[in-house]
């Protein structure tokens, strides 16, 4: 492809090159034919190569001089004509070359060729992210922090350029193309064995659907995480077995429903899925009572469904005239006081502003707060760019759909059993959730914990796996002991143990481990690093298990055996 591009470029330069060849030929012919005069005045002819040399440094305007003898008048006459012809021809050639280099189509061919080469040379596992909007950006940044490589496809050239400006640890190639077309997915490495997963995060449902389908057909084993904003597309994706479909609106609806129905479970889940390392803020649970929902789009629908499922009374404010069955609808946007009052804002406990325009939403909640001060506000934020405004307003719940999708993606990619654990957490009763909150609180206080999974396999935990494979009994509490002093416990909590694909929540301390188990832990980042020493370092593992600091060197081991034998020999 590279040399093809070269010859394509040369094709455009045919006219100037041929012109230069003709001028050179003419010049050389003339210089050879026209007799010169040597130092003594005798006739002398240049040969072809000398003439070529002279033409070269004349055409390129270098001009060394008349070699080896000064020219006769006839020669000078010819050279005068040749100077103008050849220099102009040279300028034309160089100009065409530069114009070719700047040609948009040519450059896009070059960048596409360069991109394909880069992708082909990737030898480590990578993710293919389609769509680099706000969601793609959040996911990409998190993937980068997890030290995983990714490749981007986005149809907007400015977003791909933004990739160069980001401060990423790993090299992330970006292609500006339509992700719908399988040829571009192939170029981005879809069919490579190193492709670990595809994330379809564009803001167009049809494109996401096309990507999911393409992956299903071209590389069936690869997991796909797709964003779907509408139920029909989500159902469509599910029908051909897309691994994870994230509909931010229904997801938020179910969050809200959970927050209303089981506040303790909701708190547990929010705590585990928030940004690790930050302080977890306890939000007030949404109250039960009459709610007003402004905007009846996809978001509004999901929220209304969630609220009504919990048996709450809802009135809707929508600019459209159509009546919605079973709901009290009031025409108008809640940006003015009147429709809100008509919907009964003064008697309500909460308001939801769910239109697709940020300023409208803010206007609605500000107006609502003015009319009823203690209202519980749920507001939808569409663009990350308006963060400052939403933070200043500080609604009780701010829904950012790109964050919901991104968090879900990261949770799935980072720790495979986390999604299962969260699903489990959703279905348990309040007592279970409160106990879990207590235990988590004892370990991490009020900060958001890091979540990680420990796989007791030979390549991920070589030391511990070796011990298990040798048949020794290892209890779970081994992994919670500090490598510095085994009587101290690390600030970690075992959330779950997965054996043979089955996950059990909150395993006991005395639980025996088996090779191949996967454990889900929550704790501080520091504790994770210390725990990984127990998993990988044979000496540390031994110490944590037995409490004895065994000597590492051969000499030391032999000596210690001898000492022990001697001690046993004389009781």
């Amino acid at each position: 492809m590279g040399t093809g591009v070269l010859f394509l470029g040369l094709r455009h330069l045919r006219a100037p090159i041929i012109m230069m060849v003709a001028i050179f030929a003419l010049g050389v012919a003339g210089l050879v034919l026209i007799p010169g005069a040597d130092a003594s005045g005798a006739a002398w002819h240049m040969n072809f190569t000398q003439a070529l040399y002279f033409m070269s440094y004349t055409a390129t305007t270098i001009g060394f001089g008349e070699i080896p003898y000064a020219f006769t008048d006839t020669q000078r006459l010819w050279v005068t004509a040749m100077i103008f012809a050849s220099v102009l021809g040279w300028a034309y050639l160089v100009g065409s070359l530069l114009q070719l280099a700047r040609d948009e189509a040519f450059r896009s061919v070059l960048t596409e060729a360069a991109f394909t080469r880069r992708i082909r040379s990737i030898r480590e596992p990578f993710y293919l992210v389609c769509g680099f909007g706000e969601t793609g950006f959040l996911v990409g940044r998190s993937l980068d922090r997890m030290h995983r490589r990714f490749v981007i496809i986005d149809i907007d050239p400015s977003r791909v350029l933004e990739l160069n400006l980001l401060d990423l640890v790993q090299d992330a190639p970006g292609l500006c193309a339509d992700a719908r077309l399988p040829v571009h997915l192939r170029e981005a490495g879809l069919t490579k064995p190193e492709c670990m997963g595809v994330l379809a995060l564009t803001n167009d449902d049809q494109v996401n659907l096309a990507v999911a389908m393409a992956v299903r057909l071209l590389n069936p084993g690869t997991p796909v995480l797709a964003r779907a904003m509408s139920r029909e597309v989500a159902a469509n994706m599910a029908s051909f077995g897309t691994d994870h479909i994230i509909n931010p609106f229904t997801r938020f609806g179910s969050h809200l429903a959970l927050a209303l129905a089981a506040p303790a479970n909701h708190r547990l889940i929010s705590w585990l899925t928030a940004l690790p390392g930050s302080d977890f803020e306890l939000h007030q649970a949404p109250p039960r009572g009459h709610w007003v929902v402004c905007g009846y789009g996809r978001f509004g629908r999901a929220v209304v469904a969630a609220l009504r499922d919990q048996g709450l009374d809802v009135s809707v404010n929508d600019p459209g005239e159509r009546p919605i069955d079973g709901l009290r609808t009031f025409v108008g946007m809640g940006t003015e006081a009147e429709p809100l009052l008509a919907a009964g804002i003064r008697e309500s406990v909460g308001i939801v502003a769910g239109t697709d325009d940020d300023i409208t939403n803010l206007s609605i909640v500000v107006t609502a707060r003015e009319l009823h001060a203690g209202l519980f506000t749920v507001v939808r934020q569409n663009l990350q760019a308006n963060n400052a405004l939403f933070e200043a307003f500080d609604a009780d719940i701010t829904m950012v759909s790109s964050e919901i999708v991104a968090n879900e993606c990261i949770a799935v990619l980072k720790t495979p059993y986390l999604a299962e654990f969260l699903a489990l957490a959703r279905s348990q009763d309040a007592a279970w959730a409160n106990r879990a909150l207590e235990r988590l609180g004892m370990v991490v206080g009020t900060r958001v914990p890091e979540i990680w999974s420990v796989s007791l396999s030979a390549d991920r935990s070589p030391a511990l796996h070796g011990v298990l494979a040798a048949g020794r009994a290892v209890e779970l509490n081994t992994l919670t002991r500090s490598p510095a002093d085994r009587n101290l416990r690390l600030p970690v909590l075992a959330l779950g143990l997965a054996r043979n694909g089955q996950l059990r929540a909150f395993p006991d301390d005395e639980e025996l481990l088996a090779p191949g188990d996967e454990l889900l832990f929550a704790g501080t980042a520091r504790a994770q690093q210390e725990q990984s020493q127990t998993l990988r370092n044979v000496k540390v593992c031994d110490y944590v298990l037995t409490g004895v600091d065994a000597p590492a060197s051969w000499v030391g081991q032999k000596l210690s055996v001898a000492v022990r034998a001697a001690a046993a020999g004389k009781p």
Binding site: L8, L10, L13, I17, V21, V28
Partner: protein, 127 residues
């Protein structure tokens, strides 16, 4: 009547004919091989090579290959000519002449292949 095809065919054939004209004659007799004809053959070969750039078909690729071969052979011959010793009358030695002509004969072979491809391509067109 395609002007581009006329020009294309013209230069390919001219390159081959000039090359043939130069090579024809006793291989070591400098009187049989004209310097100007060599010069013309080299220039026209360069032009023919440039005309063949950028054709993405398989045939186009082979055309370009043959032209590049001819070009390289002629350039080698020109270099030999440049460094060759001449006797008192300004003629080349027999040895130098035969070296030059053999290289040019190689270029002729490449040019003949190019002409053959052109003929075959034309007859297959049938228009």
């Amino acid at each position: 009547m395609n002007l581009e095809k006329v020009i294309f065919g013209f230069f390919i054939l001219l390159a081959a004919t000039l090359n043939f004209g130069f090579v024809y004659g006793d291989i070591d007799n400098p009187l049989h091989h004209n310097q100007w004809e060599f010069f013309a053959a080299l220039v026209v070969n360069i032009i023919a090579t440039v005309l063949k750039f950028g054709d993405r078909t398989h045939v186009g690729a082979i055309h370009l290959a043959t032209s590049l071969v001819a070009f390289i052979q002629l350039v080698a011959a020109a270099l030999v000519w440049f460094f060759a010793e001449t006797d008192a009358a300004g003629l080349l030695s027999e040895r130098a002449m035969s070296e030059i002509v053999s290289l040019a004969a190689g270029a002729l072979l490449a040019n003949i292949v190019s002409v053959t491809i052109l003929i075959v391509e034309t007859t297959l067109q049938r228009r």
